[in-house]
C-alpha cells in the first residue's frame, strides 16, 4: 500500500491540467463553474478540442483514437476534467455508442461512424427507455420489422422512446428495438442506428420540474432504416446493451464535479460558515463522505488489474448520486430566499448561483433514477455481492 501517485501518473495529471485549463475557452469553463445551462455549440466546441488533444475517447480501442490508459489514468482524466470545469465528452458518443460500434460493429460501420462520433460531428442520442420500460429495460416494445423487397433490405420501426436526453440536438439515435416478439423478452432485442432526419421520426420535448427541456419523447412511425444499420447480430442487442452499461467502471461516481460545487458552495456561503456551526457541520459531513467516496473510486480504479470490476464499484453510482444531490440541497439552503428566484434575468441584483440553485437541485433528482435507479443498485449489491 502506498499513497502517492507514481511520478509518471503525477506528470500525466499535470499534462492534463495544463491542456484543460489552457485549451478549453475560459467562458465555457466559467459557464460550468456557474452551473449555467450550456449551449449545444459550447458542448461541441469543448468536445472537439478534447478530441484534438486525444482526450475525448481515451478508453476506445487505440485503432479508433483510444490511448491505452490504465484505469487509474482514466480516473485521473475524469477527475481533472471536472476539476477544470470542462464539459465532459458527450457520454452518448464517447461512452455508449462508440464502444459498442468499436466492439461489435462492421468494418463499414466503424469507418463511417467512429471518427465522426469521436469528434462529435455526429451528435448521438440514446433510445433505450420507453414509457413502460424504465429500470425494467427488457420490457421495451418499439418494433423493428425486417423487410426485403425491390427497394432493398431494411427495418421498419414503430414505437416510442422516452427520456431521450438532449434528443433535440441529436443527428442520429441508437435504439434497442424488438425484432422477435415470440421469445424470452431479452432474446428478441436488436441494436439499431437510426438517422433522426428519416421521415417518421418525431422528437417532442418534455418539460421537467426545473423548467428545462433536457429530455424528449421520440416517436417512430413506419421509419425505414437500412438493414446495414443493424449493429452486430440480429436479436443480440441485449448483450450489447449490457456491454455498454457494464464496461464503464471509471467515472460512474460524479466525485470531481460534486467536490467542485461543494468548494464553490463554501465560497458562496462566505462568513456564514464561521457563523453557523450547523452549516459548518454539514460541510464537514459532506466533505468527509465525498473523501471516502473519492478514495473508494481510487481504490477501485487502482486495483482492477484482472479486468473484472471491483466489487466496491457498485457503491460508486449509488453514493455518488446521493452526495451529488445532497450538495445541491446544501446550495439551495445557502441561497436562502434567493433560492426562489429561478426566473431572475441578467438585470437581477441576486447572484446568479442563487437563481440557479433550485433548478439545479430539482434537476439532480434524476441522478438517483437514471442509469439503473439507486434501488436497482441496492438490489445488485444485495444479490451479487451479499448473496441475498
Amino acid at each position: 500500500m502506498h499513497l502517492k501517485l507514481s511520478p509518471e501518473d503525477a506528470a500525466f495529471r499535470e499534462e492534463l491540467r495544463t491542456y484543460f485549463t489552457t485549451e478549453i475557452p475560459q467562458e465555457i469553463r466559467d459557464a460550468v463553474a456557474q452551473r449555467r445551462e450550456l449551449t449545444k455549440e459550447q458542448i461541441v466546441t469543448a468536445h472537439k478540442i478534447l478530441n484534438k488533444g486525444g482526450y475525448a475517447v481515451p478508453h476506445w480501442p487505440t485503432e479508433w483514437g483510444g490511448r491505452g490508459w490504465t484505469d487509474l489514468q482514466r480516473h485521473i482524466w475524469h477527475e481533472e476534467l471536472q476539476r477544470a470545469n470542462v464539459p465532459l465528452p458527450l457520454v452518448f458518443n464517447s461512452s455508449m455508442v462508440g464502444p459498442v460500434i468499436a466492439a461489435f460493429g462492421s468494418q463499414e460501420q466503424k469507418e463511417k461512424f467512429l471518427p465522426a462520433t469521436a469528434n462529435l460531428d455526429i451528435w448521438w442520442s440514446q433510445g433505450f427507455s420507453e414509457p413502460d420500460a424504465g429500470s425494467d429495460l427488457a420490457s421495451l416494445r418499439t418494433t423493428a420489422e425486417y423487410v426485403e423487397d425491390e427497394s432493398g433490405a431494411r427495418f421498419v420501426v414503430n414505437g416510442q422512446k422516452t427520456w431521450t436526453t438532449l434528443g433535440q440536438y441529436g443527428d442520429w439515435i441508437f435504439c434497442l428495438v424488438r425484432t422477435d416478439p415470440d421469445v424470452k423478452k431479452q432474446a428478441g432485442i436488436s441494436f439499431l442506428l437510426i438517422d433522426m432526419t428519416t421521415p417518421g421520426v418525431t422528437v417532442r420535448p418534455i418539460e421537467l420540474i426545473d423548467g428545462g427541456h433536457e429530455v424528449n419523447e421520440v416517436w417512430f412511425e413506419d421509419v425505414q432504416v437500412p438493414a446495414e444499420n443493424l449493429v452486430g447480430e440480429l436479436n443480440r442487442g441485449w448483450d450489447y446493451a449490457k456491454f455498454l452499461l457494464g464496461n464503464e467502471r471509471v467515472g460512474v461516481a460524479p466525485v470531481g464535479a460534486t467536490k467542485r460545487v461543494l468548494a464553490s458552495a463554501k465560497e458562496w456561503a462566505g462568513d456564514l460558515v464561521a457563523e453557523d456551526p450547523f452549516l459548518a457541520a454539514r460541510f464537514v459531513e459532506l466533505e468527509n463522505e465525498l473523501l471516502a467516496l473519492e478514495l473508494t473510486a481510487l481504490r477501485v480504479s487502482a486495483n482492477s488489474a484482472d479486468g473484472k470490476p471491483h466489487p466496491a464499484s457498485s457503491v460508486l453510482k449509488l453514493k455518488g448520486t446521493e452526495l451529488q444531490q445532497a450538495v445541491s440541497e446544501l446550495v439551495v439552503d445557502i441561497a436562502g430566499p434567493g433560492a426562489i428566484a429561478s426566473g431572475a434575468g441578467e438585470g437581477s441584483d441576486l447572484e446568479h448561483w442563487q437563481a440557479r440553485s433550485t433548478p439545479a437541485y430539482l434537476n439532480l433528482r434524476k441522478a438517483s433514477i437514471y442509469g439503473g435507479s439507486n434501488e436497482v443498485q441496492r438490489q445488485i449489491i444485495a444479490r451479487t455481492i451479499l448473496g441475498l
Binding site: 500500500m1 502506498h2 499513497l3 502517492k4 501517485l5 507514481s6 501518473d9 487509474l72 467536490k259 467542485r260 461543494l262 468548494a263 463554501k266 465560497e267 460558515v273 464561521a274 456551526p277 459548518a280 457541520a281 460541510f283 464537514v284 459531513e285 466533505e287 468527509n288 463522505e289 465525498l290 473523501l291 471516502a292 467516496l293 473519492e294 478514495l295 473508494t296 481510487l298 481504490r299 487502482a302 486495483n303 466489487p311 466496491a312 457503491v315 449509488l318 453514493k319 434501488e375 443498485q377 441496492r378 438490489q379 449489491i381 444485495a382 444479490r383 455481492i385 451479499l386 448473496g387 441475498l388
Partner: protein
C-alpha cells in the same frame, strides 16, 4: 497509488488470521476468555509475540520488528474480525507508541523489548473522570524535578490498567503542560473491572506515587496528541474488521433464517438495509486505508486530519452497521450467547476510546473554512 497488500503483508495477515482467527473461531471460546481475568488469553498473547506481531511498530534496536503502520493495521483488522480481547491497541499501539516516540534509549530498549517479547503488558493511564479525549491531563498532577517525581490524582478508565506491568501516565506539570511518566503500578491503588465489550479497565489512584519522566520529560502534549491520532487510525482498522464480519454474519443470517415460511432474504426491505451496510463498510474501508497510509509518511498535522476524518466516518458506519446487524438478526441479536451483539458492543467501545464522531466533527468544523476542497493525493 496502491491499496493492496504486498506478499509479506499478505503473509502476515494469513499468519495472524491463522493464530487469532483459529483461537476465537468458536465464539464460546471468546466468551469464556473474557469472563475470567485478565480478560484475554496469555498464551495467545505469547504466540502473538513469537509471531513478531507485538514488536511490529518498534525499531529492531528497541527489540521490535521494524515494520510500520500498515502491518500494525493488518493485525488490528484481524483482531477486530474475531473481536479478540488481547490488549494490542492499548498496549502496543497506544502505550508502546508513546514510549517509542518519547522514551530515552534505555527506556525504549527495556520497555519495548519486554513488550515485544510478550513479557510485559503496558498501559497508558490518560483518561480522567470528566475528561473527553483531550491530549492533556488536569486531575492527575505531577510534582518534583529531575528524575524524582510524584503523581497525585485519579485516572479512569485505564484500559488494561489492572493487568499492566508498567504504566505510562500523563499528568499536569507544575509549570503548565502535560508530562508523561513511567510508573510501577505496584505503588498505585488500582481496581479493575470489565468494560461493556468484555475488555478490562481500571480506576487507578496515585497518592504521592513515585514516577520517572518518560524521556527528557517536560510538556508532551503534542506527543500524546499524535499518539492518540495513531491509536484512532488503528482502532478504526480494528472496527473495519469487526464491521466486515458483522455484515457477513448478517447477510448469512438473512439467507438461512426462516419467517412466514420463507428465508428473510425474500423480503426486499431487509436486503436493501443490508446493501446500505455494505456501502457504509466499503466507504469506511477506503478512508481507513488512506488514513493508515498517511500514518506512514504524513506530518503530525496531516496525521491529525486523517485521524479525525477516518474516525468520523468509522463512528457513523460502526453505529449504522452495529445497530442494523442486531435489528436484522431480531431477538437472537440481543443475546450474549450469539456473537453479533458483542460485535456491536465492541464497536461502541472502539467509538468511545479516542473520540466519537461528534468530537471529530467539531474538530473538523473548526477548520472547514481553511480549505476549498480536500485532496487526498495532495
Amino acid at each position: 497509488m496502491d491499496f493492496t497488500y504486498d506478499d509479506e503483508q499478505q503473509a502476515l495477515r494469513d499468519a495472524v488470521r491463522g493464530l487469532i482467527g483459529k483461537k476465537y473461531s468458536d465464539f464460546e471460546t471468546r466468551r469464556q476468555t473474557v469472563a475470567a481475568d485478565p480478560g484475554f488469553d496469555e498464551t495467545t498473547w505469547s504466540r502473538l509475540a513469537e509471531l513478531g506481531a507485538l514488536g511490529l511498530p518498534f525499531s529492531e534496536d528497541d527489540g521490535g520488528a521494524g515494520a510500520g503502520p500498515i502491518e500494525v493495521a493488518i493485525v488490528a483488522q484481524e483482531l477486530g474480525r474475531v473481536i479478540a480481547p488481547e490488549p494490542y491497541l492499548t498496549s502496543v499501539v497506544l502505550a508502546g507508541g508513546l514510549v517509542a516516540d518519547a522514551g530515552s534509549d534505555t527506556q525504549r530498549a527495556e520497555i519495548l523489548g519486554a513488550l515485544s517479547a510478550g513479557e510485559s503488558i503496558l498501559a497508558f493511564a490518560h483518561d480522567e473522570p470528566g475528561s473527553r479525549w483531550a491530549p492533556t491531563a488536569s486531575k492527575v498532577t505531577a510534582s518534583g524535578s529531575g528524575d524524582a517525581w510524584t503523581l497525585t490524582g485519579v485516572k479512569e478508565p485505564v484500559l488494561a490498567g489492572a493487568r499492566a506491568d508498567t504504566l505510562i501516565v500523563s499528568a499536569a506539570l507544575p509549570e503548565g503542560g502535560t508530562g508523561l511518566f513511567v510508573v510501577d503500578p505496584a505503588n498505585t491503588d488500582r481496581t479493575g473491572y470489565p468494560t461493556n465489550d468484555g475488555g478490562r479497565a481500571a480506576r487507578i489512584g496515585f497518592n504521592g506515587t513515585a514516577a520517572v519522566p518518560l524521556g527528557v520529560g517536560g510538556d508532551a502534549t503534542s506527543v500524546i496528541a499524535t499518539g492518540l491520532d495513531r491509536a484512532r487510525i488503528i482502532a478504526a482498522n480494528q472496527a473495519v474488521g469487526a464491521m466486515e464480519v458483522s455484515l457477513h454474519a448478517t447477510a448469512s443470517y438473512l439467507t438461512s433464517r426462516k419467517q412466514f415460511g420463507v428465508t428473510l432474504n425474500t423480503f426486499q426491505a431487509l436486503n436493501f438495509r443490508a446493501a446500505d451496510m455494505y456501502i457504509s463498510l466499503e466507504l469506511t474501508r477506503s478512508i481507513v486505508d488512506w488514513a493508515t497510509m498517511v500514518l506512514v509518511e504524513g506530518t503530525s498535522e496531516e496525521i491529525a486530519d486523517a485521524a479525525s476524518r477516518a474516525a468520523l466516518q468509522t463512528s457513523r458506519a460502526s453505529r449504522h452497521i452495529g445497530q442494523e446487524a442486531i435489528q436484522l438478526h431480531g431477538g437472537i441479536g440481543m443475546t450474549a450467547e450469539y456473537s453479533i451483539g458483542s460485535y456491536t458492543s465492541h464497536l461502541t467501545a472502539l467509538d468511545h476510546l479516542f473520540g466519537d464522531g461528534n468530537h471529530h466533527l467539531r474538530v473538523l468544523a473548526g477548520k472547514v473554512g481553511d480549505h476549498a476542497d480536500v485532496d487526498p493525493l495532495g
